[in-house]
């Protein structure tokens, strides 16, 4: 029994890592008032470049960083469209979801002889403890460094949001950009930084998928994780801590599916459970969504 609990905990932490990182990205962008439905596309480029660079250089950490940077480039494009051009953020986000996987698979076919899967990386991102430190059931808790990074990201962003002037600026820009502007906050700059960071974190999330959960890029490596990260953020009411806990919850549901697999319940029905649970929890406990007030609205200097 104790073993099962530890196993469940280990699987939960493993599967929640990409989600948690991407969810932090989504929180950053949305808190500053820019809707980012392009998380899915940014995760996919992160997953691809992470796997590609990790495989070519043999250095997973460098791959991880490059995955984040690839996501950040897409974040920059999204920021330009939504902040400078004041385009419809949902539409440009969906465009990211087309271009991101498009570019990833296009390059994948070029680098890997027409295949849609990358070669497996030789070195995955290591686990926190070396092999023999944790023995027996406890070894389930020997999670990847990326899991710790995801937790740290959530803590750092939570601290920034609620305990620094910077965080106050971000939240002010997301709730009432005109008021923030009159106080001398550069609305455009704050939004640019937040959206680029959002792409960076989503890219890291994608790269953590291909460098620590599985070990190669494939078209189904991300498929839908980005949308679940967005759902996690709405679930967590647009807060860093809420987003992280919601990602853990999704990871836990995935662990349940893994653990209950092979029992009498058909696997297809089991696989549905995380999504059904989410809706049920929303209905019973969470209730009305409370998005940042200026979320999705472009800011035009000089307007109220």
């Amino acid at each position: 029994m104790f073993n099962t609990i530890l196993l469940a905990l280990g699987i939960t932490l493993m599967y929640s890592t990409p989600l948690a990182l991407a969810a932090q990205g989504s929180v950053m962008s949305e808190a500053s008032g820019v809707v980012n439905v392009g998380i899915e596309g940014m995760m996919t480029v992160g997953a691809f470049f992470g796997a590609l660079i990790g495989e070519r250089t043999g250095n997973p950490w460098f791959g991880f960083l490059c995955g984040g940077l690839a996501g950040a480039v897409f974040g920059l494009i999204h920021a330009f469209a939504s902040v400078t051009c004041r385009a419809d953020q949902t539409v440009t986000g969906i465009a990211m979801n087309l271009v991101g996987p498009g570019v990833s698979l296009f390059l994948c076919r070029l680098f890997y002889n027409g295949g849609v899967q990358s070669e497996p990386v030789k070195n995955k991102i290591p686990n926190i403890f070396s092999k023999n430190v944790l023995k027996g059931a406890a070894s389930n808790l020997n999670v990847s460094w990326t899991t710790l990074i995801a937790l740290l990201a959530a803590i750092v962003i939570w601290y920034i949001f609620y305990h620094t002037t910077w965080g106050l600026h971000i939240r002010a820009v997301g709730e009432h950009p005109a008021a923030a502007d009159t106080l001398g906050v550069n609305v455009y700059k704050v939004r640019y930084i937040c959206v680029i960071m959002s792409g960076f974190l989503a890219g890291l999330g994608g790269a953590s998928m291909t460098l620590s959960v599985v070990s190669q890029f494939s078209p189904t490596a991300i498929s839908g994780q980005g949308f679940i990260a967005i759902a996690a953020v709405i679930f967590g009411k647009w807060t860093p801590q809420g987003g992280y806990l919601a990602a853990l919850l999704f990871g836990f549901f995935t662990a349940l599916v893994v653990l209950l697999g092979g029992t009498a319940i058909p696997i297809e029905i089991l696989s549905m459970l995380p999504y059904i649970f989410t809706i049920v929890i929303l209905v019973l406990f969470v209730g009305k969504a409370a998005a940042p007030k200026a979320n999705g609205k472009p800011y035009i200097k000089g307007t109220r």
């Binding site: 469209a81 440009t92 498009g102 498929s223 999504y275 809706i279 035009i300």
Partner: protein, 390 residues
Amino acid sequence: MESKVRKALRNPFALTIIAIILGFIIAMFILAVAGFPPFKSVGILIKGMLGTPKDFTAVIIKSTPIIFTGLGVAFAMKTGLFNIGGEGQYMVGCIAAVAIGSWLDFPAPLQIIFTVLAAVLASALYAGLVGLLKAKKGIHEVISSIMLNWIALYLNNWFTNTNFYHKPNTMGSYPVRESAYTMILPQWKRSEAGLAVLRNNKFLLQVLGRNDVNVGFIVAIAASVLVTWILTRTRKGFELRAVGSNIHAARYTGIDVEKNMIQSMMISGALCGLGAAFYITGQQPHLLNTLSSSENIGFNGLSVAFIAQNSPIGCIFAGLLFGGLLYGGATLQSQLGAPTEIINIIIGVIVFLVALSILIPRFLDTHTKKEKPQEVTAKEKEKKKGAGNV
């Protein structure tokens, strides 16, 4: 007077065309960098779409489902709802069509009616659930739709593998009965008399003989006209749009906002369901397959609606463009070895540029000489609009 160029740059249709052309140019650039001949590639792509009557017919057939999902998304958008759940609604429609169409056994017109109705009803209810959750519990439609998309995917796999519907030794279900087929003249074109006629007429042979030509596209056109009519000419349409443009004002004038949300989602879902119905009854293989990830018919509908800027009639053309590129992309890969994913890049760039195209009229407004009176008015309008937005 504004010059003709300036006028053209204010026209959303002209801007969309420019976005499409730029999308192709950027794709050619990417192809060139990747080492493929850019002009030849685009030539093959376009020839793959329009080269023969057979190709063009195939494009229409391929486009039909995404025109329907595009219509569904556009309808919801017009009423202020973001229906990212077209994917799941479409899948549930397919499941219902197969459930009824392979189980019941009626003569043709009845079987078709039951099958199509089942799909439409299932999709409408599935989407209605999203509307209900939003109206009664305030749950964001995006989160519930995303969850329901996944549930639909696994529902599809579960259904396909039930003893009753699973066809042994395959990955799929039983197909719907032939009496549910909605192809045009399916028996005639394989009969002696039909073949004799087709052999003498190359055009008809290409159009009818080589494809699953079905009535779906005609229904799609009818549906887009109907949607336009509902939105612009009926009381209900006005109510739905009122809720979409200002929920508080709508409530204040006595419109039942919650009811309208649910209805809007149901109509949006029903449109996706129509797409599913005519896919299952009108195209090979007429059955469900076990899927490892979703087939993106609903997500492609999002792009279609965005390129069409939510115009129902525009969805037909945007859908044809998308379907055509998907179809031509396969030719590009088989003939040149260029990755077919270039199509997603083209579509993504087009969607992105269409979203940016609103910049141009605004740019024109701020960069015109002030002594011209009508441009000053335009500038003021923009200012007022901007103020209203915040």
